[in-house]
Point group: C2
Chain length 255, copies 2
């Protein structure tokens, strides 16, 4: 069933409010795109040397720490962002505080598919995060005469959409056990994709974040993980989880 107040506590909400109001301090140095570690993973992988120099001119590196907002739902969408380091949490809130995490953004992920002129969701840093920030205007201008770049952005949007559809299936039709297993397997795949191929799956987000991503409560996530551990499918370690029986997890996830 769907929980009533499974989002933030009122204290957390107040904190989030303050965060939102406070302008994000800008500790940016100008970025050197040609040296960017995640360029090939990001939309910038479609840019040649000349493009990069121009891109660098309009981009600005911004660094954020734990729980700092990158942008907030409802605000004017004046910037687009490229995550270059760390993990961001993307989410939507209901007026009464219920929260749905709609995704986690990893290095290389692009946050800028804006159909409206306001952000339709919020994004903040789960851990230390760096983003490449561009004004929406200069970004639009930059795209203007670079159709290959637009095509790349389009591919990213299509991939994002496919992930969203997969997540709808998960939220609407999978059991708690399947949700948690699918999350672990999917998260591991995404980490592997950016080169982090450890046998221990890093989980920088809190249990609450996972719960809000899977449409569950924190207690159910915790119980399910401990059960998985009891059943020798994994070991819970500090900052993550170590998969012992990946086959079983994948079977549960219904891959």
């Amino acid at each position: 069933m769907t929980g009533r107040c499974s989002g933030l506590s009122s204290a957390e909400r107040a904190e989030a409010m303050i965060r939102t109001i406070a302008p994000t301090p800008n500790r940016a140095l100008s970025g050197r795109c040609s040296a960017c570690a995640v360029r090939s993973l990001s939309i910038c992988g479609a840019l040649d040397q000349a493009d990069l120099i121009e891109f660098e001119r309009i981009a600005r590196q911004v660094h954020l720490t734990h729980n700092e907002a990158i942008f907030t739902a409802g605000q004017a969408a004046t910037s687009v962002h490229n995550v270059t380091a760390g993990v961001a949490r993307l989410y939507k809130l209901l007026p009464d505080g219920r929260r749905q995490v709609i995704g986690f953004a990893l290095p290389g992920d692009f946050l800028g598919a804006m159909p409206s002129d306001r952000y339709s969701f919020s994004a903040d840093a789960i851990e230390a995060v760096s983003v490449c920030r561009l004004s929406a205007e200069s970004f639009a201008q930059f795209i203007e005469h670079r159709p290959h770049f637009l095509r790349r952005i389009n591919e990213f949007a299509a991939r994002e959409l496919m992930l969203a559809q997969e997540q709808m299936l998960l939220l609407g039709r999978r059991t708690a056990e399947e949700k948690v297993a699918a999350f672990l397997v999917g998260w591991r795949a995404r980490l592997a994709n950016i080169g982090d191929q450890q046998h221990t799956i890093a989980l920088p987000m809190s249990r609450q974040d996972i719960a809000d991503y899977l449409g569950l409560t924190i207690e159910t996530v915790s119980r399910t993980l401990t059960r998985f551990e009891r059943e020798k499918m994994l070991v819970i370690v500090s900052g993550g989880v170590r998969l012992l029986d990946a086959k079983r997890a994948e079977a549960m996830a219904g891959v």
Copy 2:
């Protein structure tokens, strides 16, 4: 209990009955794009006269009836589609048969954001449907040197993604009552958007389709609708629903 004899005269019921969503059903003989009723709503709205003639050359009108498949998940994604009449159901299945409807496609909607070379979901006709079918290759070629068209497709993808995120919030964090109310309000808005602005909301899809869209069972959808009727929020009519208290529905939907 006499079921749904809810105080409507037979005249009213007849008036409310079966209205195809198509603005102009079956107007197309060969694909005459320049005469297409939904062009301005669709991605083709970005095409000029010359583009249209070329588009027409590669497009083929296909007509489908109730429950016929437009394409199926897992198949090679050889075509892209533009719905021109009727309503299609987009869905994903789990191996054990659980189904998640990920959306309903209306005239003007584009089905072609393919990140992979296989369809990641299935689409079939809920009622009589016409689609504009193009081979993925010729479509890709067509886009090639038409950046304005690509930009239009991108806008459509971004809108689609935003809807998907809204749906994740619904699936993960809303109650059954909120889900049904949100569905009615959202569906009404989409119908209004394509020009069908009747006070009776046409519901060409089955209760099962609605249930699978909202992550509920058919019984819960049915019960919730009857309750809404009992509470005078709406009247259930053949082929749809008549909203009596739109304000209340919108409040429930959390708009």
